[in-house]
């Protein structure tokens, strides 16, 4: 049949003029097999249909598989829909619809086996279908359930494929199928070798499928099977698992476990004793075993299989795994290919991890950079910094309530969040922090008071449930490099935002009049004041700037995380640690701190992927230790600026 199908594939390239009733006539020659198809007999019919080159064949096969083909009393075949007592008949050649009473018509009901055979035959038509969507669907259905019979039609359809993406996909799929199903060993090995550069999940599944093994045992290691490896009970598998295999093959009696012993003892109590052991003494394992041994001796229960018995039984047999694939040449090739794929996957995973870490570092950087200004440059501990982040995120949420376009709303939300938190920061500086510049510990407590008040206020206004901050559609989805390496666009956007802010802040601090004055006030407020700078004004603006950036960070964080009243609290400790680890008073230090913490956290998560809480715990412990050795952080200020 496959050869016929290839022929058909070539034939279908042409479009022969079709005469009316051609398909009907062809079917009539096989009327009996079509009306009552069997799994074996239907093959000839399908071959004939396929080789006929009639374009309606595909439709007919679909309807046939769908049980929508009816036979008229005269023996003609129609595609029909039941409509009450009558049938809407469609001519299988011309497609002309007529209506007829359903008396005398019989529905063709091919059984499941036949329908599968029809389905396989259909694939080749669908693979060649002029409609791109149908071809894609057909390819996808092959990928879902690969079968040996699909290989030839797939190969045949590659040359005629016009769409380049689909063609590449077909070639890839054909490779998978040949690796598993090609008849010629050389073809299979060639296909397997070509998979060694493919890191897709599918390719790995194909290779793993070839390399599946089943456990087996024998007294002597057989030579005529494809052995994957010899298992050493106690090292490669547990002794009990090995013994279970013996039990499963009826080569040994099951182990007598504690529950069995207990049940046996409980059902053999005679006059308050089991054997000669009083029931009251059965509270130890030794006494229970002694009582059971006595029962076994008298034949009441099967003898106990002890660990010694188990080990003796195991010693008699060799355990090994055999490949389900019999040909060692193929399994060797697959093993080599899989090893090469896994190396590539490992490299890919490292790259993916690095991207993840980078995006986490960007988030920490965004959350901490505002703090780096207020804490680092001004020396003010602002525990309400996290609440400014929250305020920014809620600003974004409120903007989205009024502006339905997500793109526009984000563009408006960013400066608005800055404005709102800038104002809040300035107000806080004027009302509270100004009075506490010489009492840093009290600043910490006062700002904490503001923090809990703001948090509760947000809860009162917006409720406790998480509010959505939806990103625009162009930020949905992910940039997929391959099955291993991918990163969502939103994380890329956050990364870009972090980079923009890094340079913006560097620019403001180093290249503008405001930055100059900020640095002057930081270094020596008295001297700065005598140079005509107003330290009050500068402190206010600096604090506002730091808070405003927190607001923008809030919008960014809200886009990928949930907006809740507690979101700020989640970031505050990490933000402080980012600043402290990086080195206070230095934007580059914050960058270094964020990178260190981001990469560290992702690294620890990678070592123990199931447990992100543990990763955070160990990261904090690491930071505590790190500060022991570099109390001034990674980028420590030197000279006079370092003196506090």
């Amino acid at each position: 049949m496959p050869r016929v199908l290839i022929l058909l594939a070539l034939l279908l390239g042409f479009s022969p003029a079709v005469q009316a009733q051609e398909l009907q006539n062809l079917l009539q020659t096989h009327a009996e097999e079509v009306a009552k198809p069997g799994r074996r007999t239907v093959g000839t019919v399908l071959d004939d249909l396929a080789s006929s080159g009639i374009p309606q064949v595909a439709t007919f096969l679909e309807e046939w598989q769908d049980k929508s083909v009816w036979q008229s009393p005269e023996g003609l075949f129609f595609i029909a829909d039941e409509d009450g007592d009558s049938l809407i008949l469609t001519d299988i050649d011309s497609g002309v619809e007529t209506t007829a009473p359903s008396d005398g018509f019989t529905q063709l009901k091919p059984n499941g086996g036949v329908r599968r055979v029809i389905g396989t035959a259909l694939v080749q038509f669908q693979l060649m279908d002029p409609d791109l969507n149908r071809r894609t669907t057909a390819v996808a259905s092959i990928a879902r359930r690969p079968e040996a019979s699909q290989l030839s039609p797939l190969l045949g359809s590659i040359d005629g494929e016009e769409d380049s993406t689909l063609k590449a996909r077909k070639i890839q799929l054909a490779n998978f199928l040949s690796a598993s199903f090609a008849e010629d060993t050389a073809d299979r090995i060639a296909a397997i070798n070509s998979l060694s550069t493919d890191v897709s999940v599918e390719a790995r599944a194909v290779l793993n499928q070839i390399l599946t093994t089943s456990p087996a045992l024998a007294e002597e290691l057989p030579t005529d099977v494809n052995i994957a490896r010899v298992l050493n009970p106690g090292a490669d598998m547990s002794l009990d698992a090995a013994y279970e295999l013996l039990v499963a093959d009826d080569l040994a009696a099951p182990r007598t476990d504690a529950d069995t012993i207990k049940a046996a003892l409980a059902s053999n109590i005679i006059n308050g004793r089991v054997g000669d052991v009083p029931v009251a003494q059965l509270g130890t394992t030794a006494n229970r075993n002694r009582a059971y041994a006595q029962l076994a001796h008298s034949g009441t229960v099967p003898p106990m299989v002890t660990e010694t018995d188990r080990d003796a039984a195991l010693a008699k047999y060799t355990f090994f795994e055999i490949y389900n694939e019999a040909d060692p040449a193929i399994t060797d090739a697959a093993k080599a290919a899989l090893a090469s794929v896994e190396t590539r996957v490992a490299v890919g995973q490292s790259a993916d991890l690095a991207l993840d870490a980078l995006s986490l570092a960007s988030i920490y950087f965004l959350a901490a950079i505002g703090l780096a200004i207020t804490f680092g440059v001004m020396g003010v501990i602002n525990m309400a910094h996290g609440e400014f982040i929250m305020m920014g995120a809620y600003t974004g949420y409120v903007v989205q309530l009024f502006i339905p376009s997500y793109t526009l709303s984000i563009i408006i939300a960013l400066p608005l969040a800055f404005a709102v938190t800038f104002a809040a920061g300035v107000a806080m500086e004027r009302l509270v922090i100004r009075h506490l510049y010489h009492r840093p510990l009290e600043t910490l407590l006062a700002t904490f008071g503001i923090s809990i008040a703001l948090q509760q206020l947000a809860k009162n206004i917006f409720g406790t449930q998480a509010r959505p901050l939806t990103s625009p559609a162009w930020l949905d989805g992910a940039w997929v490099f391959n099955d291993v390496v991918q990163i969502s666009y939103i994380r890329i956007a956050i990364f870009v935002l972090a980079v923009i802010f890094l340079f913006l802040i560097l620019f403001v601090l180093k290249r503008t009049r405001l930055g100059l004055e900020v640095r002057a006030v930081t270094q020596n407020p008295g001297m700065a004041a005598s140079m005509g700078i107003n330290p009050d004004r500068i402190n206010m603006l600096t604090f506002g700037l730091g808070s405003g950036i927190a607001g923008i960070a809030g919008v960014a964080i809200g886009l990928y995380a949930k907006v809740t009243s507690e979101m700020g609290a989640d970031y505050i400790v990490q933000s402080f640690m980012t600043v402290v680890v990086g080195g206070v008073g230095n934007v580059w230090g914050t960058l270094a701190g964020a990178s260190l913490i981001g990469f560290l956290q992702k690294g620890i998560e990678w070592l123990n992927p199931s447990n992100t809480l543990a990763a955070q715990t160990y990261m904090i412990l690491f930071i505590i230790l790190f500060i022991q050795f570099r109390p001034k952080g990674i980028v420590a200020l030197k000279g006079r600026a370092a003196a506090d």
């Binding site: 409980a266 840093p440 407590l445 904490f448 008040a453 609290a569 809480l613 715990t617 412990l621």
Partner: protein
Amino acid sequence: MNKSFLIRNPSTLWFLLGLSIFTIVVTILSDAGLGIMSTSFVKTLGKTLCLCLIAVAMDVVWGYCGILSLGHFAFFGIGGYAVGMWLMYARTEGIVLDSLATQTIPPTAQEITDAIGNQIFGVVGSSEFPVIWAFSDSLFLQLLMVVLVPGLLALVFGWLAFRSRVTGVYLSILTQAMTLALALYLFQNDSGLRGNNGLSGLQNIPGFEDTPQSTISLAFFYASALAVALGYVLFAWVTSGKMGSVIKAIRDNESRVRFLGYHVESYKLFVFTITAVVAAIAGALYYPQAGIINPAEIAPIASIYLAVWVAIGGRGRLYGAVIGAAFVSLLSSWFTGGGAPAIPLGFYTIQWTDWWLVLLGVSFVAVTLYAPKGIGGLFDYLVRKPS
């Protein structure tokens, strides 16, 4: 100079007198006397006393020594966990033995352990006893752990931190990080302490199953009052005399004390560790009255509230910490418990359960700004006016 420190600190005697009167009044009002006061309120008062004790410890480390530790609630929690492990083990053992006694065959030691493990750790999908539960069958060893574990933790942490001269806000952030790390660790299911379920049923004291809760709560109230009295006297002694002067001097100017030849780190380490131990003892008394402990109790916010109590009560005076803790925590439970009447404004009704934290935050800012001496500062007027 040879006068007792108690004579030099009359406030200590006044405090002890007040505490005794308070204890007697509560006894009279409780079920043991007139029966006016409910058992749950006795418990609340007992818990408040424990909070007063940790507040006194916090006051010594912050108000006297100038170390703003945001980690003392972690020690409080560890103390609670240590005693909770014994309470939970012993109680579960009793239940398991009762249920296994109905079997025809007496259980083996292994079966008993497995059944207890299943009962305790089934909720986190495990039945194995973690290593840290090794001593949980012994009340004495667990009580020793109440003191030793937080003591050692504080010793190691303090030694590391003070040695590298981490001071001021950096130390605060570091202690906060320690608390956060501990809380996150305890939140894990495989931490061996039942993850976020925590330890529960701690109000049932093994061996006293038939004693009514009213009696147990009164007993714990006395124990808490005694602990507060002893802790207060201990810290009054620590903060008086020469050592007290050095400690206060460290708060005011660490460098000068160092230049005078004192080993500042040792003093700080001593204060940090001893307050941690007292905090743990307070926790060990608190949680059997609360009945449940879970990692959320240790979250960094709890330690910050502790600082809030001390600041509102008045730093640098021990009775200030007691007043602050008692005042704020009782007020807090009155407001959040729905005790305070709602205020209708016409367009909006202020429900205090929603607005209490806002009020607390704002009043805290106000206290920090305008009354740095806290409520305790009022006593200065009382004392000074007559003289």
